[in-house]
């Protein structure tokens, strides 16, 4: 893995700082950070699948939605405890991941992206018309059990989730599996030509991505206490996840976290000046400029800066 002492110092510093944050910022800001934490989890999940292997998914809410709806239905309709419903939701989402990997065995590029978009649209329509007595139909569900109450507890819950997911993925991706997944994104044929089963590698990436999406979706729904299909299966939500991963730094674990925080705060700070959808013009413009300047994202800008500082010292 090539772990060094400064890796642990950096992680400990990050966690320590985040842990103390409720003492430093308002509850309003904490609520924004809670969303950023969840967005970071979704962006990391997307990145494991798309940022690494190059199989760009435009339908990630398909997986998030499976996790969210599974636990919502189990708790609301069948009185399952959260300790049971959330792991089941993660398992069901991983089965959903198998459905997503199927087209990836034969097609790639824009064709794969369109199919994932179709998956999202399909589940959006299905939850509204198939068994609305279970799914809540177009209105979704409210009054779901929540994991925590209050901004501070919600913050710690989302932070714990994000840190565990990020650290675990970071560790796994530092091994050779991370190299192999990135190699698929660069040249899938050459990976086959190196004697590796790309099907097995893609299966691993898609299942890991689905596991994180399912966990994030399930925890998010039990943070909100409600689920609304229109918000969950919204194309803007898809783009927010993708842009967070891309401008933060795709094919890295830290990049999506940076991107998620950057985007969330950008949108929130624009809100007083541009309360409507105009904010998305600025958001799109900033994303475009950043992407043009450094396609590898903010993480690359920081990395290069750090290398320069080290070279000088």
């Amino acid at each position: 893995m090539g772990l060094r002492w400064y890796h642990f110092v950096a992680w400990a510093g990050f966690v320590g700082f985040m842990f103390l944050l409720p003492e430093l910022v308002s509850k309003g800001t904490l609520r924004i950070i809670i969303f950023a934490n969840f967005l970071a989890v979704f962006a990391i999940s997307w990145d494991v699948l798309s940022g690494r292997t190059g199989y760009v998914s435009f339908g990630h809410p398909f997986l998030i939605g499976i996790g969210a709806y599974t636990t919502a239905i189990l708790t609301k309709r069948f009185d399952f405890p959260l300790e049971l419903s959330i792991p089941i939701a993660v398992g069901v989402t991983m089965i959903g991941g198998l459905i997503v990997v199927l087209p990836a065995l034969r097609i790639k590029g824009s064709y794969f992206a369109l199919i994932t978009l179709a998956y999202m649209e399909l589940i959006y329509q299905l939850v509204q018309v198939v068994r609305p007595d279970l799914t809540g139909g177009t209105r979704g569900m409210s009054g779901l059990p929540t994991l925590t109450r209050g901004a501070v507890n919600g913050y710690y819950m989302s932070l714990t989730l994000m840190v565990i997911v990020a650290f675990s993925v970071w560790l796994v991706m530092r091994t050779r599996i991370g190299t192999a997944l990135s190699a698929i994104g660069m040249n899938e044929e050459a990976v086959k030509g190196s004697g590796l089963s790309v099907t097995r590698l893609k299966l691993f990436a898609f299942l890991l991505s689905a596991m994180i999406a399912g966990l994030g979706g399930a925890m998010y729904v039990h943070y909100l206490g409600s689920i609304a299909p229109r918000a969950l299966f919204d194309i803007n939500f898809v783009f927010t996840i993708i842009v967070a991963a891309l401008i933060g730094g795709a094919s890295t674990t830290i990049g999506p976290i940076i991107g998620a925080f950057f985007l969330t705060f950008l949108l929130e700070y624009l809100r007083p000046y541009l309360p409507g959808a105009e904010r998305y013009f600025i958001y799109g413009g900033v994303a475009l400029l950043l992407y043009m300047y450094q396609p590898k994202g903010i993480y690359e800008i920081i990395s290069r800066g750090w290398i320069k500082v080290r070279a000088r010292s």
Binding site: T179, S182, G195, L196, V198
Partner: protein
């Protein structure tokens, strides 16, 4: 350990086009064979079928005594046959060391996660194709065509092949680079590697092969010692353009 390669009645059709037409040959363990023919003769298609990248319409392929005709590409590589490509295929954002690392990986997710990279072997492979230790951290964008071919050789050798297929391995190389790759091939021949080599650079190819096969329109037109093949009328007309 050396291995033989046996191709029997290989046929490949792309719609109405017959790219490989009832081709049969055997390369004994440790032997080196040149595969020559004009552009479009079907040389690379033969390579692709041996590697399982294209499935043959009919015919069989054996590695040693094992039938590999229906195996996937990664499984064939694990059995001991590997190839290089006309256009090198590096992993563009990875260093030389990481490119070689991919070739050294076990084909198991757990194995990849639990075991550390063998950096000594990465260095050994890099040095064996003529890289220096400093080159390990260079990226493909910084490499010349010759270096890219060396990198492809190193990654291919990392899979521990017993039979190696080299496709236009001298294309785009300087005289010095051709000499370097030739030395490497000679060294591997001495170590018992079995070779099938495609090259339009006949001058560079000649000292590297024991025998040769010439094909045109997917059919074998000559087979035997290199000198006999080059001297045959069919080869002179179809490949060398002599009448």
């Amino acid at each position: 350990m050396s291995m033989s390669l046996t191709v029997t009645n290989l046929v490949k059709k792309f719609g109405g086009l017959t790219a490989t037409n009832d081709l049969s040959f055997e390369i004994e363990a440790g032997q080196s064979v040149g595969l020559i023919g004009p552009n479009g003769a079907g040389k690379t298609t033969v390579f692709s079928q041996i590697m399982g990248e294209h499935r043959q319409t009919s015919g069989s392929i054996k590695l040693g005594t094992e039938e590999i005709t229906n195996l996937s590409t990664p499984l064939r590589i694990r059995r001991g046959v590997s190839r290089t490509y006309q256009v090198p295929r590096p992993f563009s954002d990875m260093t030389v060391a990481k490119n070689i690392r991919v070739g050294l990986m076990p084909d198991s997710v757990l194995g990849m996660i639990l075991n550390s990279p063998n950096r000594d072997r990465e260095l050994e492979l890099a040095l064996s194709v003529g890289f220096s230790e400093d080159d390990l951290e260079r990226t493909p964008a910084e490499l010349s065509m010759g270096d890219l071919r060396k990198l492809e050789m190193a990654r291919t050798m990392a899979t521990d092949p017993k039979v190696l297929l080299l496709d236009e391995v001298f294309a785009g190389l300087t005289v010095a680079e051709i000499a370097m790759i030739s030395d490497l091939v000679q060294k591997m021949r001495n170590d018992g590697m079995t070779f099938l080599i495609v090259s339009h650079d006949l001058k560079a190819l000649e000292p590297l092969v024991d025998t040769a096969i010439a094909i045109n329109y997917g059919s074998m037109i000559s087979q035997g010692s290199y000198a006999d093949v080059i001297a045959s009328d069919e080869v002179r007309v179809s490949y060398l353009g002599e009448v």
